[in-house]
Subunit: 213 residues, 2 copies
């Protein structure tokens, strides 16, 4: 009976614990959109999250640990945006193009997310690995002008990051994701007849969506 009690207690605690933890992580995420991790203070976090300092240390050992948690949450949002299409789409370049567009649309519609991503210089490591895998496949198929996977990844990530940064400072035109993607594909040396149909379809569909506010 003591056994059951303990398990039950733990479960109850876990729910409360999760709520507060999420609260803290969200506050940290918001703050990290405006300042680098090195400048993030515990005081600022607890004030923003509306909890006591002791509560923070009950959930995290240090600020670094919170930063890591925010990073993990950010990585999740990336995965969620493209998880389905990665399974459905078999063409490497189409996969990459879809992700590129999808991420950019997300950046435009969610500036906080964009600021956070742009700040964390190198995008979540997992994403780059996926990108490199797609690019390596495309290179193996002889569809890219570049032979160097790392360089190709830098080109795509670089264009994406800077264009996303641009959307934070200037208003984005409706076809910006499409335009940026075209530039990235040209940079990679993808022939015009390849890898642009799905992207174009997406861009068309979303145009009315965005315009409808």
């Amino acid at each position: 009976m003591a056994k059951i009690d303990l398990a039950r207690r733990a479960e109850i605690g876990r729910e409360k614990r999760v709520r507060t933890r999420v609260q803290i992580v969200d506050a940290g995420l918001l703050l990290l959109a405006d300042q680098p991790p090195e400048a993030l203070t515990v005081n600022a976090i607890v004030e923003s999250a509306g909890v006591a300092k002791g509560t923070f240390y009950y959930h995290f050992q240090s600020v670094e640990e919170l930063v890591a948690a925010v990073g993990a949450k950010l990585a999740d949002t990336f995965d969620e945006l493209v998880a389905r299409s990665r399974l459905e789409q078999s063409d490497s370049i189409e996969r990459m193009a879809f992700a590129f567009t999808r991420f950019l649309e997300k950046a435009i519609s969610d500036p906080v997310w964009a600021r956070l991503v742009v700040r964390s210089a190198q995008a979540p490591a997992g994403i780059r690995e996926h990108l490199k895998a797609d690019l390596a496949e495309a290179i193996a198929e002889g569809r890219l002008a570049t032979e160097d996977v790392e360089l190709a990844a830098d080109i795509v990530v670089g264009i994406w990051t800077q264009v996303a940064r641009g959307t934070l400072e200037r208003r984005a035109t409706p076809d910006l994701p499409h335009q940026a993607l075209q530039a990235a594909l040209r940079a990679l040396g993808v022939p015009r007849t390849q890898g642009r149909h799905a992207a174009a379809a997406r861009a068309g569909r979303n145009k009315s969506q965005i315009g409808s506010k």
Copy 2:
């Protein structure tokens, strides 16, 4: 007579003043290559520069002022790298290509400079203005696939920044500047027969190039 004395004194002081100021700025520059401005402390600066805290405040009103000074110094290095060619080269795309390559070579040969530039997210404002001017000219001449100057600038800056960041994490291949430039030109939609001679000539010393390895 008092007049002459005062002027002379001031001049003497200025020399000493300049020496120490440079010392502090250099220390700040080094620190800013490893950490964001928001995390830069006066204590760290004075320790690294080997001066007393009071000395720092004798030269600068705040850390922000020092950061600005470092930014100005960084901007100067950019100008120095391309000042001559800007006057000599009349073709807009050639100008841009030269600067792109030159900056990347600098980043490869001077990692501290590269880290500093990559950290200060948006490259010194003056450089972007020059780039936009060149791109606007090229667009007016109908030589680019993109009509949007801001987007074109983001593409070039984005590729450059990410490739430069890559050189900090991986060893740069000899023809990386040339390869990256080619990608940027493709991204902009510059026809193959245009704007590549000067670049090719520059990369020539490392040549027999693309197929190598």
